[in-house]
């Protein structure tokens, strides 16, 4: 389960950064880049708290 959550989080990070690179190279529209970044934020914050930095003591 934890590995699945980590994979989902990774997808969130990729959705955050890859669209801007695609936009830079002209492969994606500016609006699509912004919406995919927003989706990346939702995916990251919905998954990362469930596996990151757990039980540090």
């Amino acid at each position: 389960m934890k590995n699945i959550l980590k994979l989902v989080s990774l997808i969130g990070l990729l959705l955050t950064v890859v669209p801007s690179i695609l936009y830079f190279y002209g492969s994606l529209s500016f609006d699509m880049h912004k919406w995919l970044m927003a989706l990346g934020a939702v995916v990251w914050f919905s998954s990362a708290p469930f596996w990151m930095n757990q039980a540090t003591d």
Binding site: G12, L13, T16, V17, P19, S20, I21, Y23, F24, G26, F30, H33, K34, W35, M37, A38, G40, A41, W44, F45, A48, P49, M52, N53, T56, D57
Partner: protein
């Protein structure tokens, strides 16, 4: 009943304000990597990057100055602050109390707490520039110093309330929040920078350096701004967190580190936050032709950019309010930390209503580091040098003093001489930290030697 449960939970949070952190509470490297990356990828990075553009830094001066200055900052954390923090495992405030006596450290704590409040206030204000976007709230401009609208004040209070509650819950929550947010935030800075480049005419990475020199860091300051050189950038990057490293404020954080080498984890904050983020926000500023953090991030990255500004403000304001709570609590050790943090949060939020905190951020950051730095030199000398000279360390505790004049003389004289250099010789405040630290070190050695030997002489005569 529920209220009692919350209060009991808050009362049960143990932060070791007056005892060394026990072995079982030490934290691993990951905690510090996340903490530093989050804390230094802050809302203020959206202000500082554009200010370098405004001050007419050239591209080569910016890149070289940032690399050198950030490296020196990391070395200052690793070799000056962390070894003492992990050896004593005490807060800065408790350590100072042992050296200076309760009354002097009370003055220091008050000044320190106020500085942290204002710094956290600027973070809250930066976050508020993004929170206000969807509500179409009139945001303050660069020239505004006073609250500009009721909407602005309401927005600031909403942001301040959330940040204060998180800080009240203690270091664990602060660290956890920063760790979760930081990888995403850094990528938002990178993505926003990439997305803004086509607007400046960059079509491939090969175009970047030429555009950087001609359209971003042109070497020509904006009207009314002074010209910054390599030295300005280097010293600003080194001393932007002077209070934290050579000023020893991060003893309060690094005392949780299992090893002193974890001080070098500050590299994540310096080279992601104070390098990548400052460069990215400079690009955003040049592309948008504006400076306000919320709108420039929103323009390049949409909702995610605005959320990034909000969270970047939070992750810096949270530990800063936490530190301010510790500082003020040093004056009132019997009051629970969460109650002090609540009071600090209210004061901070009130301060955040005044946009002047953001508009004069560079000056404020430099001043706050300079004011607190001499006490860092006092701790360093007290820890490493005095015992080797046959003088007593932690003199106030050992002699039962409530006010020890050696550190007081060091602090006040260093600041007076720095002020003199600034006002009479026109030395920029960014350049005063380095000579100021050595001056404080020499003054403290001289004053300690004089006062301790005089006391010894008096005792010998009495016998």
């Amino acid at each position: 009943m529920k209220e009692n449960t919350v209060v009991n939970k808050l009362n049960s949070i143990e932060e070791f304000e007056r005892t060394p952190v026990p072995e079982r509470k030490l934290k691993g490297l990951k905690s510090f990597i996340g903490m530093y990356a989050g804390e230094h990828t802050a809302g203020t990075e959206f202000v500082i990057g554009p200010l370098f553009v405004a001050h007419g830094v050239t591209a080569i001066d910016l890149f070289a100055g940032l690399i050198m200055g950030n490296l020196l900052a990391v070395l200052s954390w690793g070799f000056i602050c962390a070894p003492i923090a992990t050896h004593t495992r005490e807060t800065l405030y408790f350590k100072l109390e042992k050296i200076c006596g309760r009354n002097l450290v009370g003055i220091y704590n008050l000044v320190n707490g106020m500085m942290f409040c204002f710094l956290a206030g600027s973070m809250i204000a930066v976050s508020a520039t993004a929170v206000g976007i969807p509500f179409n709230i009139a945001m303050p401009e660069l020239g505004d110093w006073l609250p500009t609208s009721l909407g602005w004040i309401v927005t600031v209070f909403a942001v301040g309330a959330v940040i204060t509650v998180v800080a009240m819950l203690g270091y664990e929550q602060v660290s956890r929040f920063a760790n979760i947010a930081s990888p995403w935030m850094i990528l938002v800075f990178v993505a926003a920078g990439f997305a803004a480049l086509p607007d400046l005419g960059v079509r491939s990475l090969g175009d970047f350096w030429q555009v950087a020199q001609e359209k971003i860091w042109t070497g020509v300051p904006m009207e009314g701004q002074s010209k910054f050189t390599f030295w300005h950038v280097m010293f600003f990057a080194w001393f932007a967190n002077m209070a934290m490293h050579i000023g020893m404020a991060d003893m309060s954080i690094l005392r949780y580190a299992r090893k002193w080498q974890y001080g070098f984890s500050s590299a994540t904050g310096m080279f992601l936050g104070h390098f990548v983020a400052w460069i990215a926000s400079g690009i955003l500023c040049a592309a948008a032709g504006a400076i306000a953090p919320g709108p420039i991030a929103y323009n390049a990255a949409g909702i995610a950019g605005a959320i990034c500004v909000i969270i970047a403000g939070w992750t810096t304001a949270n530990p800063t309010i936490y530190r301010a709570g510790l500082a003020i609590q040093g004056m009132m050790p019997s009051v629970r930390r969460w109650k002090v943090t609540l009071a600090v949060g209210v004061v901070t939020t009130l301060a955040a209503c005044f946009p002047a905190l953001v508009m004069r951020l560079l000056d404020f950051v430099a001043l706050y580091g300079l004011i607190l730095m001499p006490m860092g030199a006092v701790i360093f000398i007290d820890f490493y040098v005095l015992p080797r000279m046959g003088l007593k360390d932690n003199f106030a505790t050992k002699e039962g003093l409530r006010f020890y004049w050696a550190p007081a003389f060091t602090w006040f004289t260093t600041l007076a001489l720095c002020l003199l250099l600034n006002m009479s010789a026109g030395v920029d405040i960014f350049f005063l930290g380095l000579p100021g630290w050595f001056l404080a070190a020499l003054l403290y050695i001289g004053a300690s030697r004089f006062l301790q030997q005089r006391k010894q002489t008096i005792l010998e005569k009495a016998q």
